[in-house]
Amino acid sequence: MTITSQPNIDNALLPILEQVSDPEIPVLTVLDLGVIREAIEVNGVVQIKLTPTYSGCPAMDVISDDLAAAFLAVGKEAVVELILTPAWSTDWISEAGKRKMEAYGIAAPLEETADKEALLGNKKIVKCTNCGSTNTHLVSQFGSTACKALFKCDDCLEPFDYFKCLK
């Protein structure tokens, strides 16, 4: 079957899926991230289709292992397949996920035009996760991980990560 941008997840599997988090951003579950594109049980085996955020994201291997382990803990075998298409977009991050990110100290991705203006046009629209000021500047388009850029607040002087918009 073709994977569309709407994930095909069996509701019965949600409680287990919710237990698996991004190893790098532990406040986000794999459901918040939108990387689970399909999760269904076929002949007693859980078939999961996972899509990477960035090509080289090392967290995907860990997430695959964690998914298998989470299902094993409830006595089920899970098979995880990595699929590339449709390509992951930050649009698939849940609203709850974005709020959790901000609370954790990572500025959530802006929508595409705003994101480009912030990263490439030096427009001051990214809010500091510490004090909320928009008096911030881009330090580097590449941050602690492939998905994030590094910002600094010129008011409270704290550095913080910004999750880059990927469309």
Binding site: Y54, G56, T85, W88, F142, T145, K167
Partner: protein
């Protein structure tokens, strides 16, 4: 299978990303400052991630190998990367020059590959292009910063561009596999990318107060497996662990 045009074509795409990823990885902990160190290693990670997608596809196609074996266990003449990406990290100007000269080409190539009749290649291209757009932004910005910087940075950036220019033409010389795959609608026609490439690169160099090299001397060979002397040392480094401990696992 491994000698088929499709296999060799994908190998060429993958090897470029692998070798450039390897070169950038060498900078880990050695960048001129923290931001550029992180940027270079992040770009390396993106490229190696793309390489993995290609190699996994090849391993499935061949049936009797793995992505690791393809990456680490070939002999020098079996690698199909262009000469440009194997050039060493002489100084930061070279790192940026090499990156920029490749990124412009890489982005053009991926734009074409998105239309590939091969579903997997199109998928990899669609995924990679988002990341490579950021790479080109980074390298282009630094070419301008260094070119239109101080007298010393301009001198060094010019030296790098002059030194790397001879490797640009190879990007647009199609080898057998590339020609065959372009005809089948699987691969991109690299010969058609040449004019736009040099136009775009020249515009950036102009903006960066750098002279566009006039030399008509170009070196080729990488795509046919005839590499520069640097390749031997690069592979010795890269392949050491896997050859010393075959089939090793973490």
């Amino acid at each position: 299978m491994k000698q088929s045009n499709l296999y060799q074509y994908i190998l060429g795409l993958a090897d470029n990303s692998l070798i450039l990823g390897q070169r950038l990885g060498e900078l880990c902990g050695h960048g001129p400052n923290l931001e550029t160190d992180i940027a270079c290693t992040n770009i390396s990670l993106d490229l190696i991630g793309q390489t993995r997608s290609y190699y996994q596809y090849l391993a499935k196609m061949a049936g009797d190998t793995s992505e690791d074996a393809i990456a680490f266990m070939r002999l020098e003449r079996e690698y199909r990367n262009v000469l440009l990406v194997e050039q060493p990290n002489t100084h930061f100007g070279y790192v940026i020059g090499r990156q920029f000269l490749f990124d412009v080409y890489h982005l053009q190539l991926l734009k074409e590959l998105q239309q590939s009749s091969d579903e997997m290649l199109a998928a990899i291209a669609k995924k990679s292009i988002k990341e490579v757009s950021y790479h080109k932004r980074f390298s282009g910005d630094w070419v301008k910063r260094l070119g239109d910087g101080t007298e010393e940075s301009n001198e060094k950036m010019q030296e790098a561009i002059d030194g790397l220019w001879r490797y640009t033409d190879e990007l647009f010389q199609a080898n057998e596999a590339e020609t065959a795959m372009a005809l089948e609608g699987v691969g991109a026609d690299v010969t058609a990318l040449k004019e736009t490439y040099y136009k775009e690169v020249s515009a950036v160099l102009d903006e960066a107060m750098l002279k566009v090299p006039e030399s008509k001397y170009f070196t080729h060979g990488g795509k046919k497996g005839i590499h520069s002397e640097h390749m031997g040392y690069l592979l010795a480094d890269m392949q050491y662990m896997q050859r010393t401990y075959p089939d090793m696992k973490w």
